[in-house]
Amino acid sequence: MTRALDDVRIAEFGGYAAGPHIGKLLGNFGATVVHVESRARPDGFRMQYPPYKDNRPGIDRGGCFAYFNDSKLGVTLDLKNARGVELARRLVSTCDVVIENMRPGVMARIGLGYEALAAVRPGLVMLSTCNMGQSGPRADTPGFGSQLTALAGMCNLTGASEGPPMLLYGPYIDFIASTLGAAAVLAALERRRRTGAGAWLDISQYECGLQFLAGPLLDYHRDGRIAQRAGNADPDAVLHGAYPCADGTWLALSCWTEAERGRLDAAVAPQTLADWLAARPARAAAEALQAAGVHAHAVSTVADLFTDPQLAARGQWRRRPHPVIGDQAYCFPAFDLAETPGEITRAAPTLGADNEQVFGELLGLSAAELAEYAAAGAFD
């Protein structure tokens, strides 16, 4: 099976979501992605964030790590060890792309900065992603995506107008930056095809998040309007909100014209909307209202996503066997290609699972060389 990116090889340094989610997206369309960790400092998502298989933490038991690292190979390298760094450079010399999400300056300090790597791999595309970007007065700010979502304006726009701002789940903004980062990597590869030139891509997760509020930001700059949270209201809609239904479910429902409002009223007649909704669960209400030509969908819980027939038809969740976790549902991207479709090519790697394949087969090191690197602690 031909995959769209099966001529692309990527090395990934860092952890958590912001870097690895980029590699996962590209890996789903055929890129060979090598996720580099060290045994002393494995990816933070392995041990710091639940859930774990059977609720018991363990280096290879983390569902969170696995979820963002399917379709990759996993290796260990000690980047505080000169021989480990040497092997990292050899790995990069065979790669098209490096993705890293360390704090600014860390990669350069350990000898893996863009200039050093571009010297061993001319035409290299390197993407560096962090909270604030590689420059500016606050470039060195450490931070979590969950809090950055507040700085970037989303939290202020979530919640009732008279109440406090609200959290969005997890490091919301990280996934904006990782999705946009994947686009940047592909654009840089396109330029390389045309010109031979590599690129260093500096991604600020903050600036990526702002693209999702480009309209309200222009509205402020142009007209001085400061967008405020407004619950579920929308100024352009005739009706717009979340409404309680039977069995504790909620329905998202909107009407955009008086004609659509008329269709809604006809569909629930002779009952009031509230009574009609109270008599049926949200999924049934949505089906009836969609049939009547009204915007409606149940407010899906996260569990509901696994039983939604539309998501099932798209193959949203694809189960792959993991040697420790067992079958796990991996998340397919939101797009697919008709001729060269994507796939969850394999479950996430256990720590260092693919050292032999990557350093032996891909890099072509002999058994004696591998043993020598191992003795020097390069794989620790």
């Binding site: 919640g159 609200m166 654009a187 929308d234 290609l337």
Partner: protein
């Protein structure tokens, strides 16, 4: 980076961002709009900045021919087909007529499947993708973000899909259809929440303005704190990062002569939020809350940075517009508006080799 890449953008609001992102990366984007379409609203202008506007109605004979000519020369065609649109504008047909082009279809639920004909705006998409179930007060109504996010998630995924297919097109000479589901795109925003269901049978729920699930006692920790001119996002974390933050907060409060209460005696190296009771958390948070009430957002941003503390102010668009970090990085881009006035837009989302595309 995408110089020479021709994009025809026939999308509605659902995927405006896709063409905008491709344009930021250097593509030449032609935006097709029906004659008389409103191109003044901030949302339209922000997400169609940098595109060349061509007024045509693909449903009319003349407009259809004009669209075909554009598509014939395009590397990428972006569209948001409606179920009731003329058959010739179906993206599958466009792809058939233009085998060299990457044809990206963005719809609420995808081109096939039982909901492929369903109507959905941002609200229904945030609901269908699970995001609303995770925002709002526990036990209260699920919430969407008051500015549309589902359209942006769909547009962002569409840009990636377009470029994955373009990569293949450059190798093979063949374009293909890319089918984007906005519902699926919203699932990207859920982080790893689905794994709790999958591995443990536990369904994550909304937590309002607090954080729970961090202490074995069930204690909840405040996330949003009223401050002098709005709110701050600050959390009492454990571990090394939490220790630094908490120690620096106490040092800052001490330097200001703030009343410390129980904070004065806590050894943050040993403090463990996973074992804290609600009573302990409340006692610790009370003096912090009194201190923050007198701190301004900008002051918090600068002091937290200086002290290497975790936490950020809850910004409004006005705060963001005035952030010196963005100015220093040349983030904002001035563009000439239709009335001749200068408009300040978000610049390109990536800095390439030290330079932001589109900036001098």
């Amino acid at each position: 980076m995408l110089r020479g890449c021709a994009v025809v953008d026939a999308t509605d609001r659902l995927a405006w961002l896709a063409g905008r992102l491709l344009g930021d990366l250097g593509a030449e984007v032609v935006k097709v709009e029906a004659p008389g379409a409103d191109t003044h609203a901030a949302e339209w202008r922000a997400l169609n900045a940098g595109k060349r506007l061509v007024a045509l109605d693909p449903a009319s004979a003349a407009g259809g021919a004009q669209f075909e000519a554009l598509a014939a020369a395009a590397d990428i065609v972006l569209c948001t087909p409606r179920p009731d649109a003329p058959p010739d504008t179906d993206p599958r047909r466009i792809a058939g007529r233009h085998p060299r082009a990457v044809v990206v279809s963005v719809t609420p639920f995808g081109l096939t499947g039982p909901k492929s004909g369903w109507r959905a705006s941002d609200l229904e998409l945030m609901a269908a993708g699970g995001a609303m179930s995770l925002a709002g007060e526990p036990g209260g109504a699920p919430m969407r973000v008051s500015a549309p996010q589902a359209y942006a998630w769909a547009g962002a995924q569409a840009a990636v899909g377009a470029l994955v297919a373009l990569h293949h097109q450059r190798r093979s000479g063949r374009g293909q259809l890319v089918d984007v589901s906005a519902q699926s795109a919203v699932i990207t925003a859920l982080s790893h929440a689905p794994t709790f269901v999958d591995l443990l049978g536990v369904t994550p729920t909304r937590a309002g303005a607090f954080m729970t699930g961090r202490s074995v006692t069930g204690a909840q920790f405040r996330v949003f704190w009223p401050c002098r001119d709005g709110y701050l996002n600050f959390i009492l974390y454990g571990g090394a990062a939490g220790r630094r933050t908490n120690e620096q907060l106490v040092a800052w409060m001490r330097a200001r002569g703030a009343e410390l209460g129980p904070l004065a005696d806590i050894d943050w190296g040993r403090w463990d939020p996973t074992r804290a009771t609600q009573g302990e958390v409340d006692a610790i948070e009370a003096p912090v809350g009194r201190f923050f009430a007198a701190v301004a957002k900008r002051e918090f941003l600068e002091e937290a940075h200086r002290r290497e503390m975790l936490g950020y102010p809850v910004s409004t668009v006005a705060d963001i517009a005035a952030d010196p970090q963005l100015a220093a990085r040349g983030f904002w881009r001035e563009r000439r508006g239709p009335d001749g006035r200068t408009e300040r837009h978000c610049g390109a989302f990536v800095v390439v080799d030290g330079r932001r595309p589109g900036q001098s």
